[in-house]
Symmetry: C2
Subunit: 154 residues, 2 copies
Amino acid sequence: MNETTITARPGTPFIDIVREFDAPPHLVFRAWTDPEIVPRWLGPSTTTMTVVEWDATPGGRYSYVHRDQDGEYGFRGVFHTVVADERIVQTFQYDGRPQDVSLETLTFEDLGGRTRVRNHAVFGSVESRDAMIESGMERGVRDSMARLEQLLPR
Amino acid sequence: MNETTITARPGTPFIDIVREFDAPPHLVFRAWTDPEIVPRWLGPSTTTMTVVEWDATPGGRYSYVHRDQDGEYGFRGVFHTVVADERIVQTFQYDGRPQDVSLETLTFEDLGGRTRVRNHAVFGSVESRDAMIESGMERGVRDSMARLEQLLPR
């Protein structure tokens, strides 16, 4: 299994996630943007995901719900930039904390049949970034990356 | 004339702009979101503005062009949150630097017939924030705020 690196330097409003996949950019990008595929890997392995809206174009919106035995958790955002197989810039909001919107820049780097995905997220404040870290997002990210790896063709 | 405060602490990716207006929130909010009114005040006083797209709803896009004697400058973004008379969360991009997308949170605070507008912008890096400061945005902001003040009813 490839390693997932999560970096959140103290005192900054940034979270950086880096992960490589043994599949080419167009397949990884498709898994990230196709609303038929995303629910199969996004989120902690203890949750199921339902897409409400998903329009991966500039100005398109997305929203989805994660459900586990304890409840429902809604998320939403809009796409600012979508360059096929290369780059996505999008907003992100957990509906439980609608004041804490973040901006994510995802890049899909071609490593010659393999792909390095970087997700650079920036929050409105260090406190807002810290709250996201303390929410336990790390488990969700690591689960998601492992589930996506299982899904991609070898 | 009311004062415009622009704060950009060294080493952070934030820009904070605060300005009061002698008009109630609904009029200030309308001036900020109505594509018939925005071109009359947004930008340096030496430019003219043309709206290309303007849909101030969640997921709506905006784009516009500033023109002066030296050339044309395009800007664009998407609206994430729009709460009438209260709050806007939107992305912002200067087309000359499409890698440097920022996220702006605008709030319209009711001071009893007057309005305090705060614009909190966060960039993907300190360097990207510094580049925006060095582009001379301060003149554009101060001109815009003065032009808007002239436009609002007394």
